[in-house]
């Protein structure tokens, strides 16, 4: 029997999700969406997926929230009344969506007799790698190709974002609007939180091998800290042509790729780790990835190079 807590949580998620969808003002919709993300993290905890809960909170809600808030701040002036949409089409779309939901719900209500799971085989071989966290095992041992490709996706998406800069500004500074008021709470936070945040980020990555956490979550926290500092105007946004920035972006993928290729020479197989060295190598990958992910996420949020934003 489902607990009252779960039922309440699900109802809240749905209500907040619907609120975010139907809210009149885009700004409110985004604020509500951030709350929605946090509620979702709770759901992940209830589903015994703490790694995902952390990721959802850090990236799905946190960094995405920053991104959207930044966007809505820029869009304010154009937040005109939405064009009246054709209600008959809306009703039809609503009916179709309901049908899709119903067919999915039908599947949920009739689960397979014998639940399928790769958990036993994951655990069976996890010992060889020396990792304690099965999710990290899947990410960096069994399905490391996915993870590697996904890093490429992240970097490529950043190039894609940068590509939207006007020709003359390529390599210039992204125009992040620093918070205008000096000595505000934000400045205070930007001075005090980052040291703690950076510690948390590093800790998350460090325990990631054995406990919930890892490069993604740690990187997201680092990104959030850096953005906070930049928004407060305490640190300058680096120009996208900066050599250090570029190196920071790629160091993770490069190390990952290099260790993968190293596997060819040492074990004969791409992305295989030599016996006994799996854990240190994975930690090396994760360490560099944490940096790269942090920098990449932050650069995603600050956007393409633009003319200085003057308010």
């Amino acid at each position: 029997m489902a607990s009252v807590f779960d039922v309440t949580l699900v109802c809240l998620i749905l209500a907040v999700g619907a609120w975010s969808t139907f809210a009149r003002l885009t700004f409110s919709a985004i604020v509500i969406f951030i709350v929605y993300g946090l509620l979702l993290s709770l759901a992940w905890v209830r589903l015994a997926a703490v790694d995902v809960a952390l990721t959802e909170a850090a990236i799905g809600s946190g960094v995405t929230g920053m991104l959207l808030l930044n966007a809505v701040a820029r869009l304010r002036s154009t937040d005109a009344a939405p064009t009246p949409s054709r209600s008959s089409v809306n009703i039809a779309a609503g009916v179709f969506c309901t049908l899709i939901t119903a067919s999915l719900a039908g599947l949920v209500l009739v689960p397979p007799q014998v639940p399928v799971s790769l958990a036993p085989s994951v655990m069976e071989s996890l010992g060889q790698s020396g990792l304690g966290n099965p999710v990290a095992g899947v990410l960096f041992v069994y399905r490391s190709l996915d993870t590697l490709l996904e890093k490429v996706v992240l970097v490529l998406a950043l190039i894609a974002v940068w590509s939207l800069a006007p020709d003359g500004l390529w390599g210039g500074k992204p125009a992040l609007r620093p918070f205008p008021q000096r000595d505000s709470v934000l400045i205070f936070l930007a001075r005090t939180v980052p040291p703690i945040g950076i510690m948390v980020g590093i800790y998350m990555f460090w325990v990631g091998a054995d406990e919930p956490g890892g490069a993604f979550q740690g990187g997201a926290v680092l990104a959030a800290m850096w953005i906070l500092v930049m928004i407060a105007g305490l640190a300058a946004v680096p120009p996208t042509s900066s050599h250090a920035l570029r190196l920071a972006l790629i160091v993770g993928p490069v190390v990952f790729l290099a260790i993968g290729i190293l596997g060819i020479f040492l074990t004969g197989t791409f992305l295989a780790y030599p016996e006994g060295y799996a854990k240190p190598l994975i930690i090396a990958i994760e360490a560099t990835l944490t940096v790269s992910i942090g920098v990449t996420l932050a650069m995603h949020v600050v956007g393409p190079p633009e003319k200085e934003w003057r308010s």
């Binding site: 949409s85 089409v89 039809a92 779309a93 179709f96 969506c97 049908l99 899709i100």
Partner: protein, 544 residues
Amino acid sequence: MTLGEVLLVATLAVPLVTLVLALSSGSHRRTTILLVLAAIPALLTALFAESGTTVVLPQALLSLVLSLDLPGRLLLGAAALLWIATGAYAVLSRRGRENDNPFPIWWLATMTGSFGVFIVADLVGFYLFFTLVSLSAYWLVVDDGAPPAKRAGAVYVSFALLSEAFLLLAFVLLAVATRNDSFLIRDAVAAISTSPLRDPAMAFLVLGFGIKIGLVPFHVWMPLTYASASIPVAAVLSGATVKAGVIGLIRFLPFGVPLPGWGETLTALGFVSAFYGVLIGITQTNPRTILAYSSVSQMGLIAAVLGMGLATGNSITPAAAAFYAMFHILAKGGLFLAIGVAQKTRHRTEWTVLLPAAVVVLGFGGFPMTGGAIAKYAIKSPLGDGDVAMLAMVSAAASTLLMLHFLRCLRASRSHETRTTSAAEQSFIWLAIVVAVVALPWALYPAVIQASAHDALSFDALWKATWPVLIGVLLFGVLGRAPRILPMIPPGDIIVLQSWAWSGAKALGDATERIDEYLRRWSIAGSLLLVVTLALIGSFYVGR
């Protein structure tokens, strides 16, 4: 390789190599003469290669199978003559425009296709050359660049594509019906008469080739095209390229086995065209348009002959039809040149054009001793002795009428021209063709029909050949005396429906555009995505 095989390959290879030369050569002054020379191997093949010579080209050349048979040989030879003659004519008349690059290229391409269809023996090869001859000719039609030529080109290419489409379907059906991996036309034709796919295949064949030879109501492109293309182009189009359809019918219809139903259909279609062409033709005043309608009529006659052969299983039909078509290649091509020559001839020497033209013209009615007479005599056997033979005689009378009308209009058009350019060389070409038109059919008759030409000179035969001509002359006299009683019909007659069809198509296009705009709205496309998803789920439950 025997000489015959070498010649057979050279028939296509030489024009193709010339084509490449013309494409790559910077100076075109030298390449123009190649227009003439490139057709010579085809003539040599027709003269010296034996029927039955077969060459299978390697895979790298599409595994084409080239093969020479009697109908192919007749048509190839006559077409080669015409291409040589008109090539020379074109070179002369285009002096000073040698650097007009596209013309020689399309000329050579069309010529290659025109020769190819006569000697190729496999399905895909036939389709390839048929396409080549049909589509390349588009550029010859629009070469002049004037608005009527553009319009004619558009109509021409529309019908050409339509005919391609029908033929593609027909050929695929034939290939499927053949079952084994042979793509030989011979095997396909053998298989089709017993295949369940016979009827659709026959329908598509008749449609596809019917468009090519201008069977009514697919004839509308002919008057437009022949009237607006340049003289040499009109000559090869009306003489040589249109025979791609004739050889197609000869090759692909299963003769030898009586195939009633289809035979009668084709005969009926043919005679409708034969008379329709004359009826509309006599209302025209432009000699080129008249010749075009005469082509509609003549091709209808050939279709009727083939139809009768199909219905009766008469195995002489292919050779007889090809024989008649051979006559038509030279006669019709020649008359177009005559129009060109006439326009440039001085008034006092006009008889040098009109007199030979009269000889050719009377041939269309089968007047004794003309080339047309023996050609008409050759198709008697497939037509039989019954009502159909009578119809053929009437059509001969009608043709005479039409062609006399042509002669008159030719003269009339001539008198308006005040040009005095010497056209001695062109006249020579034209006269050479006239000689061929008269002499060749008589010379070749015994070999083709396996009978002596003397039969055609018997009194009975002579009389039968003469009276339709006399009737034609009589009718011409009556019509000529009468004040203008004939209605004015625009060239292309039912092409006037085009504007109606056009507005219909335009409305359809407008509607499509509106629908597209609607479908590409975000909310519509999104909803459709869900519809497709649900439909797909539903479809998985069907047919389980």
